[in-house]
Symmetry: C3
Subunit: 237 residues, 3 copies
């Protein structure tokens, strides 16, 4: 039947049902919390501290720091958001999305179904993260970034080492489907990574890279020209 904390502050929110909302979570007006969505779930350390004391989710409530969801968001059925994460306004998630603790997501960003955003990652505004991506701890994604389906971002050069080298993807970059981005790599402003590429080195701003490992092939300006031609063909069809 779900559980909504008495400490939660909900605007005019549509709760679809079976929702668990823990701690001092804050949800803005006109947001939708989908069926079975869990918000403010405790991080591992908190959960471990509760074992032996808690006998149900309602006992987590005192320990959860809650999460924040802005206005006009759609959190679709079976998404889980951990405590201490903050989603801006007009954010949308697909289904089976998992967002761990201390994650920040900016306004108008869309996170596709089955994508996992791990602890301490940060995603800017107006990003489009497609289905099934993996975004590990320490990843920093700027504004207006596009990640195609099943993009796989890494953070440990010699796993499992414990030293995390986060990937940085700067404003306006485009990462094609199924690309693998090695730890510590910087994908520059407005850069483009072709689908299926393995990115082992930094990608310069406004540069298109491709291959396995990825190498520069042309500029963003040329990419835009190709895109325009592609769209024109379509209009003539």
């Amino acid at each position: 039947m779900g559980y909504v904390s008495s400490r939660a502050v909900l605007g005019r929110v549509l709760l679809e049902g079976l929702n668990v909302i823990l701690g001092p979570s804050n949800i803005g007006d006109w947001s939708v919390v989908g069926y079975g969505v869990v918000l403010g779930y405790p991080s591992r350390a908190v959960l471990k501290s509760l074992v032996g004391r808690a006998i149900g989710l309602e006992h987590y409530d005192d320990e959860s720091s809650g999460c924040a969801i802005g206005e006009n968001c759609i959190i679709r059925p079976y998404t889980v958001v951990y405590e201490k994460s903050r989603l801006g306004n007009c954010v949308e998630t697909g289904h089976f999305v998992m967002i761990r603790e201390n994650v920040t997501i900016g306004d108008e960003t869309v996170v596709g179904s089955r994508t996992v955003v791990d602890g301490d990652a940060s995603i800017g505004s107006k990003c489009r993260i497609q289905t099934g991506c993996y975004i590990p701890p320490k990843t920093v994604i700027g504004d207006g970034v596009f990640l195609g389906p099943m993009v796989n971002i890494l953070n440990d050069k010699y796993p499992p080492s414990g030293r995390l080298s986060g990937v940085r993807i700067d404003d306006g970059a485009i990462v094609g489907a199924g690309a693998v981005i090695m730890p510590g790599v910087v994908v520059g402003r407005e850069a483009v990574v072709a689908a299926g590429s393995l990115v082992t080195r930094d990608v310069d701003a406004e540069t298109v890279v491709k291959g396995f490992p990825a190498k520069p092939v042309y500029t963003r300006r040329e990419y835009e020209a190709k895109r325009e031609k592609y769209l024109k063909e379509f209009q003539q069809m």
Copy 2:
């Protein structure tokens, strides 16, 4: 506790519990609707129109066009099927499967756990779609097609362009695990794509392709001979 629309037409169906069935959904005899399965979920436009008006899933009901599930289907726990999608008879899904609006799936097709079938895609009958695939809008898959685990199908040559070029996979084709199929590609009848390949060009019927990017290596007839030998070795073991 779930919600079943008064407009839904259910045959002798086994509902495992916590089910949400919206709009004039139709489910045939001897089908199983798994725990937590949601059927007839509204598309984005409908959902947005409900914000500010609806205060629970039951208010979605009037707006949902429902979905259709045939006879003898198994829709396993935590699958979500959107409105206007039609699944034939003897269709099975795994867990955490997401099927968006206007999708058609033919009889006896199996859709593996965690696979996402996006809006307007179409899948024929007797297909076996394995775990974790992504099938985007405009994809057309014929009959008897096999997709290995984590096949990643694309639809936009210069993302995010808004022009979708759907992939077509013809009857009897086999696509190996982890293959990436570029937008607009046609994989011909009885063609075979080796695991891990990046398919950038059309694949001729009855042709086996392999590599990154994929190139023709032999014929389907040779593939069948290799398979037969592989099976014989097994019988001798």
Copy 3:
């Protein structure tokens, strides 16, 4: 509201809610069963035999063989574990994890969110399986193995042949993110597979392989030296 079998034997277990626990399942002390977790779900043959007889999950109970979960486990929200599977002590799963029937998982192993472990697979103790992996039937994974995110393991050389050739990954091996391991391959003791590799042949013990297809590049000893240097750099930062 969930369902807990009268045949289930639960230690001092924390049930978060909406739990389904079928058959003679056994859960050790101080384990957490997350919100919406389903345990002891019937295999396909049992489920098919129930169609036409059962009218709800409680009717599955007599037919389920249950599953076993050790002490101090965390089974996070929306994980599904089938009947006849056995998880050791201190096992943790992420969210949306699916573990099919007859799976064995050793003590202190972690299975990341969205990973699917298919029927009859076996995983040793102290393994770290990251997000979104696919581990098919007949896979045998030793102790202390690390699989990075979205590792894709196969088991059929000429799909769909019906002959399954399981992959074996021996103790202490490390498989980098997004690697694809071909059917029947043995990854030797303490071997390392670089991220994004396609492994088509057996990997010798203590050998590092890399590429598409993967080839030996250096030894595990050198890998350890590189890791140590990487960690030292960090300490100096």
